[in-house]
């Protein structure tokens, strides 16, 4: 038994020049390269090749490239897929073409819910896990009254709604919310409203620059100094680095990986740092992990044929520096532990990129939707 | 003597009239309480010193400006509150003091554009361009009449100033207006063109009313039946050229010592 066409080819398709370029971007490609090298460069005695493309956040470009890869370039699997419109589009295509796709860059739970695919896998995080992590776990830490600053679009709503649910089920309450437009420059009006609500936690149900600006201005208006805590629902190491600990101190957030967690994760972090000049976030680490697992699955299946590899991926446990006690649900969701993290105070961090204290670990089964309840039709 | 030069075919009747026409710009009244009657088959001149308000009266009559007070009626219909393009469709067409052609269209196309509306060939986006060819004959007639036949395919921008003015008159005539308003049609024209245009105006006035602003007094004397003199926005004198030109107030305010 061996690979069908004399090689195994993996495609990394993500945003390399747009707003999410830091979130995953070229560094994700680097992570995938590392995985292939670490695996030995070959599987089933055939070489493993890597291609990558910048989809510029346009689903049609992504879909075009994915088609071309599958149809004419013998690509066997596509990974990363930052931003949900692209991930959903490529997953639908992969399903049609019977090819494997593994998502680390997109957040929507639809990928393993209504729009799930037998060959699609969701690896690093999703909105549910973020909501459970930040919402549920933070209440246990004492943050039991919440006010949301929510980006006024579907992503924001679902974060707010899911987080609110966990806050309540953990015994907290939501005292209010204000919806701000996407790409707002100035948050002061909203922050004043949050301030006067008196909530202990201000939940930032937004992403990217919006979150960063909100955090920065919260510091300026003395909100954090006044005793309220900020909790960002989608924010990663890369962005904390951009914001600086000065402004971000005290912020809580949830990630699926932190480089300074233990020796294993530190080892990868250091190697990654040497190659890219920055420490990995969960998207980078997750991409490494997904590529690695994919190659292992091929080895186990003894072929790169899609059905067999997908079956192996579903069956194999995941245990690497990224995912401890990981397993893959029938809906394609890779279930692993998440971490509730808090940004250190400026004096506390003793080396560069050492930004977080781990507040708690959220077990995978709590963090992710039970596949049976995911709404995915593949789960009986 | 000048008047007898024109043959009138129809009875003169009022086609355009204004009552109490007033226009105030800020605190400055450019036109004050002007009454004006323009007759069919007559050439009516509006003269007066610079800044007297002649162009403003034109703008008011054609509704490019909204009067501050007063009423305007065209062919018995009140047009005081009508939009300018509507007024044009009702048959009141003007030329501009500063020349107005479609610079990148050929001379022929300039005229054809004007012919399209009266011939109901303006909104058809489903017909081919060649459907406009049936306008060619009329367009060429008009061009020939103003002496532009040789420039048929020249782009209007390439014409000299004087010939642009002539072209403008041709396009205006293409609309077959009932009332024609000409703002200094002879300005900047060479002597030979003045002759041509004078006779064109004289001709067209046989079947329509013409109101013109003109500083060239020999032209006024030559082709105008009736003269209104405006000064500081008000009517100073009215009558035929001979009467008006003898009025001492007109002489001091406008004509100076010059004879036509």
């Amino acid at each position: 038994q061996s690979a069908s066409d004399g090689k195994v080819k993996i495609g990394i398709l993500n945003d390399q020049s747009g707003v999410y370029a830091d979130f995953g971007g070229k560094s994700s490609v680097e992570a995938a390269k590392m995985a292939i090298e670490d695996f030995g460069g070959k599987v089933l005695d055939v070489p493993v090749e890597l291609v990558d493309a910048d989809h510029q956040n346009k689903p049609d470009i992504a879909s075009n490239i994915a088609r071309q890869w599958y149809d004419t370039e013998q690509v066997d699997a596509i990974m990363e897929l930052t931003t949900s419109s692209v991930a959903l589009a490529v997953q639908a295509l992969s399903k049609e073409k019977k090819k494997i796709n593994m998502v680390t860059g997109a957040a929507t739970t639809d990928l393993t819910g209504k729009q799930c695919s037998p060959y699609g896998f969701h690896w690093a995080y999703d909105t549910h896990a973020l909501a459970v992590g930040t919402g549920g776990a933070l209440v246990k830490q004492g943050g039991d009254s919440w006010f949301f600053l929510t980006a006024d679009y579907a992503f924001g709503y679902s974060l707010e709604e899911q987080t609110g649910t966990f806050v309540k089920s953990a015994g907290g309450n939501v005292v209010g919310a204000v919806r701000h437009p996407l790409a707002t420059n100035d948050f002061s009006s909203f922050l004043l409203q949050a301030q006067s609500s008196g909530a202990k936690v201000i939940g930032l149900a937004n992403a990217g620059l919006d979150t960063a600006n909100a955090i920065k201005q919260a510091a300026e208006f003395g909100i954090t100094a006044g005793g309220q805590n900020l909790a960002a629902l989608l924010f990663t190491l890369a962005e904390v680095h951009g914001l600086g600990v000065e402004a971000a101190q005290g912020l809580t957030l949830t990630e699926g990986y932190y480089w300074n967690l233990d020796d294993q994760s530190r080892e990868f972090g250091k190697r990654f740092f040497e190659r890219t000049g920055k420490m990995p976030n969960m998207v980078h680490a997750g991409t490494y992990s997904s590529v690695m697992q994919y190659l292992k699955a091929i080895e186990k299946a003894g072929t790169d044929e899609t059905e067999a590899v997908a079956k192996a991926l579903h069956e194999m446990p995941v245990d690497d520096f990224f995912a401890r006690n990981g397993k893959v649900g029938a809906n394609g969701r890779m279930i692993h532990d998440m971490y509730l993290l808090q940004v250190k105070k400026p004096g506390e961090s003793d080396e560069p990129w050492d930004y977080f204290n781990v507040l708690s670990t959220i077990p995978g089964d709590e963090a992710y939707i039970d596949p049976a309840k995911s709404g995915c039709e593949l789960v009986k | 003597m000048a008047i007898t030069a024109v043959q009138t075919h129809e009875e003169p009747r009022v086609v355009l009239s204004a009552r109490g026409l007033t226009k105030v710009f800020g605190a400055f009244a450019a036109v004050k309480d002007v009454d004006l009657d323009v007759h069919h088959a007559r050439v009516h001149a509006l003269i007066g010193p610079n800044g007297a308000g002649k162009t403003t009266v034109f703008n008011l009559l054609t509704k490019f400006l909204q009067p501050s007070a007063g009423t305007i009626s065209l062919l018995g219909t009140d047009i005081t509150n009508t939009a300018p393009d509507k007024v044009a469709r009702m048959g009141l067409v003007r030329s501009f003091q500063i020349s107005a052609v479609f610079p990148h269209l050929t001379v022929l196309d300039n005229v054809r554009v004007a012919l399209q509306r009266p011939n109901n060939l303006a909104t058809q986006f489903w017909l081919p361009m060649s459907s406009l060819d049936r306008l060619n004959r009329r367009a060429e007639e008009l061009l020939a009449a103003v002496g532009l036949a040789d420039a048929r395919n020249t782009v209007a921008a390439d014409l000299s100033y004087g010939r642009k003015r002539v072209l403008e008159i041709a396009t205006t005539l293409a609309l077959d207006p009932k009332v024609l308003l000409l703002d200094e049609p002879m300005a900047g024209m060479g002597q030979e063109d003045i002759g041509t245009v004078s006779s064109i105006i004289r001709n067209v006035a046989k079947e329509r009313a013409v109101l013109m602003v003109e500083h060239n007094l020999s032209v006024v004397a030559d082709i105008c039946h009736h003269v209104t003199v405006l000064q500081r926005g008000e009517i100073l004198a009215e009558g035929d050229y001979a009467t008006v030109s003898q009025d001492p107030r007109v002489r001091t305010a406008y004509m100076g010592t010059e004879e036509a």
Partner: protein, 332 residues
């Protein structure tokens, strides 16, 4: 009377017969090429290209022939994509009805946007359309039926007229090609019609056109709605080709792209935008897998085009020695 009147100032011939001949020859060759193209090229890529080419031509109808630079055409393109996708996916409409709904929707949007925007000219017009399309973007971002940043996914292509299966790639291709040709024919007729003539004259001298009795606003609005509807046609079909409709197509960057396509191909030339679209789409595809950052390249292409290459590919060709020998003329 001779065609060629020589004056000292300039000679503008009517288009010589040789031009219409070469034109026809080119057209036939192009058509023949498109008919067999799927054999040589990747069909989905061709379909995308045709959609964008039609979009660019629709845009050029407005810019090239009425001089109105709309910076909000993504609204019609992306809006129609949403309408079509929604009708087909949620209501189970047949593809042709879905596309027609997209066209109608785009026309209505065009009517509304046009009504506000044509009150100003030139650059103001551009800025107003930009602002209004930004409003529409925010609407799409928040509206329930667009599914936010996920987009409407897995849109079924369905059966054309109930019996031609569009899931078959060749069927889909010829459907797109037919739409493209119809769209182009409509544009060509529109431009070369009595109505088109009036549009041209309005662009030249608005006050004069008014004084000739044309209600300038209505003509402009007519052209705007027409252009919007055709852009909608392109957008609706595109949503079937890719089987999704997303926010990308309503962003102002998309409006910028269609301008680039038109500029690159040649503003005011009938087929220029097709080449422009082809180039941009190919470039984006190529850049996706190269190391060059896309925005920089796009920006530089824009600047270079405006500075030295203003007439666009086709415009430059018409103005070149060869082009003139073939009898084309081009006005800047």
């Amino acid at each position: 009377m001779s065609h060629t009147t020589h004056t000292t100032t300039g000679i503008r011939n009517e288009r010589a017969p040789v031009a219409s001949f070469t034109y026809a020859a080119f057209l036939l060759a192009g058509l023949a090429f498109l008919l067999v193209a799927p054999i040589f090229f990747y069909p989905i890529f061709l379909m995308k290209l045709l959609c964008f080419a039609l979009f660019a031509c629709a845009f050029n109808l407005l810019l090239g022939y009425t001089g109105l630079l709309s910076f909000g055409h993504a609204t019609f393109f992306g809006g129609a994509a949403y309408f079509t996708a929604h009708a087909v996916k949620e209501w189970g409409w047949t593809p042709e009805l879905g596309v027609l709904l997209g066209v109608a929707g785009a026309a209505v949007l065009g009517l509304v946007m046009g009504f506000v925007a044509i009150r100003r000219q030139g650059i103001y017009f551009a800025m107003i359309t930009l602002a209004l399309s930004q409003m529409f973007f925010f609407f799409c971002l928040q509206a329930e039926f667009t599914r936010g940043e996920d987009g409407i996914q897995q849109v079924p292509r369905g059966h054309l007229f109930g019996f031609i299966d569009l899931n078959v790639a060749t069927n889909m291709y010829y459907f797109v090609l037919a739409v493209f040709i119809i769209g182009l024919a409509v544009i060509w007729r529109f431009v070369n019609s009595p109505f088109g003539m009036i549009l041209k004259s309005i662009r030249e001298n608005e006050a004069r056109a008014t004084s000739l009795g044309y209600s300038v606003a209505h003509y402009k609005l007519g052209a705007f709605v027409m252009s919007a509807a055709l852009a909608g046609l392109a957008g609706g079909v595109k949503s079937l080709v890719f089987q999704f409709a997303t926010l990308t197509d309503v962003t102002w960057q998309m409006s910028g792209e269609v301008i680039l396509m038109t500029l690159l191909g040649g503003i005011g030339t009938l087929i220029g935008p097709i080449f422009g679209a082809g180039l941009v789409v190919t470039l984006q595809n190529y850049l996706a897998t190269s190391d060059f950052p896309v925005t920089i390249i796009t920006g530089v292409v824009f600047m270079v085009c405006v500075l030295v290459f203003r007439r666009g590919i086709i415009g430059e060709f018409y103005a070149s020695r060869l082009g003139r020998r073939l009898g084309f003329e081009h006005r800047q």
